[in-house]
Symmetry: D2
Subunit: 432 residues, 4 copies
Amino acid sequence: MALVQTTGPSARAVSEVVRLDGHVLDSLVLVKVLDTIVDAGASYKILELDVGTTNRDESHVRIEVSCPDEAALGALLERVQVHGVNREGQEEAHLVPVDQDGVLPDDFYSTTNLPTWVRLSGHWVEVGQPEMDCAVVVDLDGTTARTLPMHRARRGDRVVVGMHGVRVAPPRRSAGPGEFAFMTSEVSSEKPKGLTVERVAATLRRARLHDVGGQSRGILAVCGPAVVHTGAAPALAALVREGWVQALFAGNGFATHDIEAAVLGTSLGVPLSGAEPSEHGHANHLRVINTVRRFGSIANAVDAGWLRRGVLYECVRAGVPFVLGGSVRDDGPLPDVISDTAAAADAMREHLGGIGVALMLASTLHAIATGNLLPATVETFCVDINQAVVTKLADRGSHQALGIVTDVGLFVGDLADLLCGPDWRAQVTRGP
Amino acid sequence: MALVQTTGPSARAVSEVVRLDGHVLDSLVLVKVLDTIVDAGASYKILELDVGTTNRDESHVRIEVSCPDEAALGALLERVQVHGVNREGQEEAHLVPVDQDGVLPDDFYSTTNLPTWVRLSGHWVEVGQPEMDCAVVVDLDGTTARTLPMHRARRGDRVVVGMHGVRVAPPRRSAGPGEFAFMTSEVSSEKPKGLTVERVAATLRRARLHDVGGQSRGILAVCGPAVVHTGAAPALAALVREGWVQALFAGNGFATHDIEAAVLGTSLGVPLSGAEPSEHGHANHLRVINTVRRFGSIANAVDAGWLRRGVLYECVRAGVPFVLGGSVRDDGPLPDVISDTAAAADAMREHLGGIGVALMLASTLHAIATGNLLPATVETFCVDINQAVVTKLADRGSHQALGIVTDVGLFVGDLADLLCGPDWRAQVTRGP
Amino acid sequence: MALVQTTGPSARAVSEVVRLDGHVLDSLVLVKVLDTIVDAGASYKILELDVGTTNRDESHVRIEVSCPDEAALGALLERVQVHGVNREGQEEAHLVPVDQDGVLPDDFYSTTNLPTWVRLSGHWVEVGQPEMDCAVVVDLDGTTARTLPMHRARRGDRVVVGMHGVRVAPPRRSAGPGEFAFMTSEVSSEKPKGLTVERVAATLRRARLHDVGGQSRGILAVCGPAVVHTGAAPALAALVREGWVQALFAGNGFATHDIEAAVLGTSLGVPLSGAEPSEHGHANHLRVINTVRRFGSIANAVDAGWLRRGVLYECVRAGVPFVLGGSVRDDGPLPDVISDTAAAADAMREHLGGIGVALMLASTLHAIATGNLLPATVETFCVDINQAVVTKLADRGSHQALGIVTDVGLFVGDLADLLCGPDWRAQVTRGP
Amino acid sequence: MALVQTTGPSARAVSEVVRLDGHVLDSLVLVKVLDTIVDAGASYKILELDVGTTNRDESHVRIEVSCPDEAALGALLERVQVHGVNREGQEEAHLVPVDQDGVLPDDFYSTTNLPTWVRLSGHWVEVGQPEMDCAVVVDLDGTTARTLPMHRARRGDRVVVGMHGVRVAPPRRSAGPGEFAFMTSEVSSEKPKGLTVERVAATLRRARLHDVGGQSRGILAVCGPAVVHTGAAPALAALVREGWVQALFAGNGFATHDIEAAVLGTSLGVPLSGAEPSEHGHANHLRVINTVRRFGSIANAVDAGWLRRGVLYECVRAGVPFVLGGSVRDDGPLPDVISDTAAAADAMREHLGGIGVALMLASTLHAIATGNLLPATVETFCVDINQAVVTKLADRGSHQALGIVTDVGLFVGDLADLLCGPDWRAQVTRGP
């Protein structure tokens, strides 16, 4: 997505006019091209844009692309050519002979999988055997061309270098009735993760410190039980303690396991620290719920000194409001749980004023519920290890949400390192 | 995606001019709007399109939308309003009182999660507490408005109906540096599956029977071992037998388990039919490989009458070429496996001429390998139960591929039902 | 699991005594061995079982295995040897020379990855370079042995055949503190799927027709919205209509989309049939809910002739009770939804008497809720395309549940084919 | 799994004799019970074990359980009762009245979902409405009992406390032909992750430093491309540099992207650091491969000073051997890649001597290939974000492998923090 703002090109900028033809609007091609230009730190001017008037018309676009230097411009034109962007002009293709078997000239033209033509002796010659990530080799008499996989290059083969004299056809639209979805990879686990943590941290810092108009925007955390099961509760507790959460939504499960972990050191009976085996069992969570019911509320349990750590403890101490929405799978439930689901949603609505960022942490039910309530202006991050869950949130309408497929157990810890410093880890090892 | 061709609007068509402002190009908004119009069977004319010249400029678009009748037009305008599309004009909002607690007027305006204004007494009034899927209620003196969840509607509340006098702001772009991916749900398991099978069948029929120029285009099947493990081999064998496959790419695993299933009735030692327990074990596949090595090739094993069913048997009988590419995890391998991977890719290249459709069936390695070789003009379907695998194929560059998240074990069976008739199932029950 | 009942061995049965030593009880080895024997249709007698008294003691077991014939016995002993089971006795290993490069003798001994010894000239000689799925080759002077991958076999190599004179060490326990989970593959998408459908159908037939004591046991269906999104609702409706469901639990989402699909032909606004594009939009489900609220109940909407197909329509017609439990993400909700979650669980409890089989269909929330309420004696199947969801159900305590990782959209259709005949499909194509 | 070694019970230990009846061996019940005892830090003596001789016979077991104190013993007996373990003896159930609506007595008996009996006035009375996580309430005349959900407890209700006088039936075996897999949750993403990292670190330390016999065991890393894409390459490079890797297996993809990241700062063209946008495109990896081909080998590229960071750079510098196995999807490939897959597997075999621990990092193809070659005595960890991949490795036979479902991008970083100290992170920010 074209989300990076560019500054203008520097004085020594170089430019080139490119063109793009075909169904470039409804096949997203133009959008991807402009994104690629901006992402590369370059800038563009749309010199001409003719989209026709109906979806049967082809579009024609001429764009002037500006880059800081020739190398950057060449690299950028290479990137956008996979979308069918061609240089204007009728220059001949440049040919260089291979000087070592299996090795191509350094600046070899790297093919896309689009139909391709090269300009030889004043004619556009179609490249045979279209295949991506190959070179283009021209035969001895210079009248035919075909793709050449790197390992097949032989000394003396004449190979196209650079992008002059090369043209590709725009990606075609699917021929059929076309109800299928194109595969998109925007939500993927294969993204640089340390970087992702840093960027979420930066967003939270921006929300708190120097927002538009000098006013900070609140941060909402929506939490599933896996936050506790994966060991992320102490990190989240540190974030609450240090002012990085202004409201928290969850269910009976998250709250119960947070308290169970705080009081007994287990989550669903599984010990969360390796120090020593737990002596408690599967009924841990029931006994915890029963005890809090006796206190009458979580806040009472904190005031009585019985609950002395954990996420909800920190919420009570810091005055951070939390809403625990009931669900039909609840044991107990805890006295703070709002069993009537319409009333629970109404309670959530009351805490959305001033919220600017929402963090959905390993939650499906409460994340969807919250997504239903949030205005589109709230920046939303959905963190889950399961790509299908992240996709499901988008299916339910929260299109402004940004998906991060990662392990919440490690993610929240690394986030707390960045926002709170590493000292919170020392407090964890003290144990319950 | 705007893949449905529309016919022109009928004589009784009704039209309306709408407008859209903001960063509608690089945030995909315009594309989605045009897609939605075409998907709904309507047509459009772009009356005005000003995209500015750089990515900092806002765009302004005016579109005339035509539908067969008023009801269709109203429904369509409702759908596109989630993308920030507004009617032109300055009509007053229409208000109707609630006549029953908890029930809204039939034609109530259903909110998006965008900032929204309603026209009251000649002024645009912002709607408070923006939240999607609500109604808009106007206070008694007609000067303020806010969202109203359905269950909170009370008799006498004055609620906006229809879309007149309602405006929304376009979806904003992310405020930050914006390196995050937007969540998209185009590859999801939650699609109508019977319909998907029918559409793949239609594509294959089109490829074979009445293609452009009267020439049929070949169908390529790329198969992973799970095709056999999930019990889909007999259905795929039927498709080969009846001419629905013109080339097949796979590895040692698929081929071994196909032969193991054909000869012994097991796959990795697991019985594929419930008739009786297998008397063979984990070394089944090794003994099968060893025996075929003794024959010298799969074709020899067919000629000798030892291999008498299965996918590769049908390939040999029908003269369908197959390429088995080696991998470092191979046991044996089978004598037909090309252990040198560069040679295997070269062999695959030789069978791509004339291929028009590719079916990737529960394969990762060979699907990516094939995707690397295919021109963008080949229609490609990737079928896998694992959404992450389907996404990974897109990450590797096969952007023209269409992802289907489903169970290949049931999918291929239902596909064979449609293309070959149900008789192939009867042949399966005869067993090995 | 040892779930197949065996009949006694036939008259011509052959037997062999095997032994197994080590930590065979707490490493599950003995259990797997006995399961493998029973799964193979063989029978066993435990002649000796010494498990020691504490977990530090090794166990020693002697088992007599009986099979119908020698071939079956040999195959079975091969299968159990991966678990460390050895024949008693001190026979010499049998050696056969390789007669063709790259091809092993037919009956070659196939290695496990356990430490292995072969008996040569009266001594147990350790096999070098332990690796699974290889042969064992003995050097010329017959004093050393090592593994031999198939492709490296050379004419004249002397290779061990059969299992005489071969011993393996039992699988060791992990040396470390050992809190890691062993990988298990019992819930996997790679199972024969046609077979799985047949077995669920058989279980449902058994529940209905000829149960213990002649009394049928009720079938409970627990449904998530993806049942509708994937197009499975008409098949489920047929199952209800023909008496295969005695109670149904779901939430507002399933019920709303079922009614939306029945009335408008869409699910969350997505058309479920390809016949023609929908003219309705994202607010479809809200208008459906609003209309049913006006009727006062789903049953009223059926009685009024407004709702005329779908799962809930068939429930109303057939008098099948349904409980719709509220959740915090609900729009509306439908008037039949029990918003108070404790009350919803209580309502579910009232319909569990007589239930013998539960089908969890693409549901997480309601499946976990139901699993919490069901006695362990109810046979439970969890069907979901997402393996992580199926695992999560087990994490929440429903250990008696059986997981099926498949596409519910195709699974329920194939199940209805088996239980209702194919005619239900014809009724679907009539459309709404 | 019973992997924790216990020391003997202390002097003040308390004991109790429990019994277990039914198909406890082949339904894994006994194994789970013994594991639970040992995991709790308790010890056991098997006083009696009668497993019958065939799989139709029920087993009978008597076990003496010893714990440090009464509280621990009570908690343990509660945990094992879900598996059908009962105290011996015929004591009456203890009853305590509820003193507050909705709150149970502190020590209330928490139900399993098994058929249950309580001892009242000398008789075993079956508990009605079996449901887990409830209390048991006894009616006024003390002759009937039923489950009681917590929220329904009313002042004066007489509820069973403690475990005296309570019996449960053992879990039954599935009634049917039983070919379905039980759901098991041993590979799950919902485990404490900080703890998991610490334990892998401890295993690696043990392997290197104080192994059996004073000899260190080598560590093998098997790497997929996602190690680079998720940003884990610098952490892995640090581990290599500091001696935590003795051999590395991977493919062309991992190696290419590692070098691409080291030289250009991108992975498949995606920038890995946020400092500035990349000026390179999709052909980056091809140009990198081409350049290394010109050098002739990766080691030559290091010697020439062209490659100056990254995982393979550190391998070359530290003399850590690496094997790059070819695959049919390879571009180029790099000159070090062994394109013949049989030769590649042979090369891998040569580096397995002395390997004691294997780390499979986000790799499917090479992890399965390696698993095929490793003896069962090598401790193996499979790290992948995708649970299905981890399961697939188990399906392919590497039963000794331990699965960790997490994000390799964060996991390897946290592992390097523990083993190398945090300084490696500073080196990363210097950039390429």
